[in-house]
């Protein structure tokens, strides 16, 4: 009986010692060429906060260009150029 216990303890000690031995280096397997690469989700750049572009004040343009009387008073006919062409253009 005692012999049996000693054998059991000896075996256990042997197992412990074996497990403490230096392990061989594990080289990782190259990824299978058949497998498609899984795209890594790219971190989306955070867009800069939109700053409202100042819209130029168009009200005076509209006010004048929709005022027929004002335009008639202000618009100048282009300088008359000589028309020397003869025949159909």
């Amino acid at each position: 009986m005692r012999k049996g216990i000693l054998r059991f303890l000896g075996g256990l000690l042997g197992l412990i010692l074996v497990s403490c031995l230096a392990r061989p280096e594990i080289t990782p397997l190259p990824p299978s060429p058949m497998l498609p690469a899984i795209p890594t989700p790219a971190t989306k750049p955070v867009p800069p906060k939109a700053t409202p572009t100042p819209i130029a004040d168009n009200s005076t343009c509209i006010a004048c260009h929709t005022d027929e009387e004002a335009l008639k008073a202000l618009a100048k006919e282009p300088e008359e150029v000589e028309h020397l062409s003869e025949g159909e253009g």
Binding site: A56, L74, A75, E77, E82, S85, E88
Partner: protein, 373 residues
């Protein structure tokens, strides 16, 4: 087309602007200074016709990309014919003339969709409304007036005073230019061309939705024989007489103002040989039109600027806008067969344009199709 008064040219209705365009505001496209009622200050840096690339392309990118390659912008057709007739040593002088007299024939986005073309002193089409389909009478025919407009609307008369009827597509057809000449064509989306007759006919008479059954089993027109359809351009039978121009000469006045002089035009019908025969345009016989070029057109700018004048015909391949179902040519077989008067013969060219016989060798008809007994 009478020009607008100065005030009318810039009179707008802000309600006429589409919401999207109005949201951009005037200054975003035209520049200038806002917030002032002083006219001079307000117009500082103003751009009357905004640059399509800088402005329109912000939203209409693909159209602006192709439009820049369209013949309306590149004017490649002019360069093609001038290169053929001129030479490298004369090119610079020729380009001075070109810049003075021909370069105004450009078109921008705005000059079709918002205003009249610059060539006709501009002016808003309808109070700055953006016209998706430009009004043909204020845009297309403003430039293409002398020949296309007058032919299409039936405004011409032959030498003996007979009115030439309007093109059937216009009356009774009621078709505008854009029914045949599509936005894609105008915007250069169909490819890059060096001349308007490069590539297959566009528009084509037999394209889908038009006369696509011509020559097919349901076509009952006796004249539409295989030989006719293969050898004869549609216009040879279906065009009425059309306009020919001669001897345009350009120069500058003492004050430096460019002007031209051109001989009175003629309304004629002439069949010639096809100078641009190809699988796309396989016909032997086509209608030909005299274009206003002359050996001395640019003589004011230098001597003999077109040394290779004879390299290109002056009676050129044509597609007149005078289409009729029935014409004098369709009356009988011998309206054409044996009728030398309809053809561009050497005798006719010697009489009408004696200096241009060699230039037109390619198109002169040497053998009139025989009379049918």
């Amino acid at each position: 087309m009478p020009p607008l008064e100065a005030w009318e040219k810039v009179f707008l209705d802000d309600k006429a602007l589409s919401k999207t365009h109005a949201d951009l505001g005037c200054i975003a496209c035209h520049g200038g200074v806002g917030g002032t009622m002083d006219m001079e200050e307000a117009h500082q840096g103003i751009v009357r016709d905004p640059d399509p690339v800088q402005r329109c392309a912000l939203c209409h990118k693909s159209i602006v990309e192709t439009y820049q390659k369209s013949l309306h912008v590149t004017l490649a057709g002019y360069y093609t014919v001038l290169r053929a007739r001129s030479s490298e040593e004369h090119w610079d002088k020729l380009m001075v003339a070109f810049d003075n007299h021909c370069d105004q024939c450009h078109s921008s986005c705005g000059q079709c969709h918002v205003s009249r073309p610059d060539l006709h002193e501009g002016g808003l089409l309808n109070k700055h409304e953006f016209k998706k389909i430009p009004p043909m009478n204020l845009t297309c025919t403003a430039c293409h007036g002398t020949r296309v407009n007058d032919e299409y609307k039936g405004l011409n008369k032959t030498a003996d005073g007979k009115p030439v009827p309007a093109d059937v597509h216009f009356n009774p057809g009621g078709m505008s230019c854009f029914a045949c000449h599509t936005g894609d064509q105008m915007h250069g989306a169909l490819g890059v061309f060096n001349h308007r007759y490069d590539g297959p006919p566009d528009p084509s008479c037999t394209q889908k939705g038009c006369h696509e059954n011509i020559g097919g089993p349901e076509d009952k027109v006796a004249y539409h024989t295989k030989v006719h359809l293969e050898k004869v351009q549609c216009q040879v039978c279906h065009a009425a007489p059309y306009k020919h121009c001669y001897n345009c000469h350009v120069q500058l006045s003492d004050k430096g103002v460019p002007y031209f002089k051109v001989e009175p035009s003629e309304i004629l019908f002439k069949i010639g040989r096809n100078p641009i025969k190809s699988p796309d345009r396989p016909w032997e016989y086509v209608v030909v039109r005299h274009v206003p070029i002359a050996r001395t057109t640019f003589a004011y700018y230098g001597e003999n600027l077109l040394p290779n004048f004879d390299a290109r015909e002056t009676w050129t391949y044509a597609t007149p806008h005078t289409i009729q179902r029935r014409t004098p040519q369709t009356e009988s077989c011998n309206s054409c067969h044996g009728n030398a008067d309809l053809f561009l013969t050497e005798e006719f060219v010697r009489k009408r344009t004696p200096d241009e016989v060699e230039a037109n060798r390619k198109v002169i008809v040497t053998k009139i199709p025989a009379k049918i007994p």
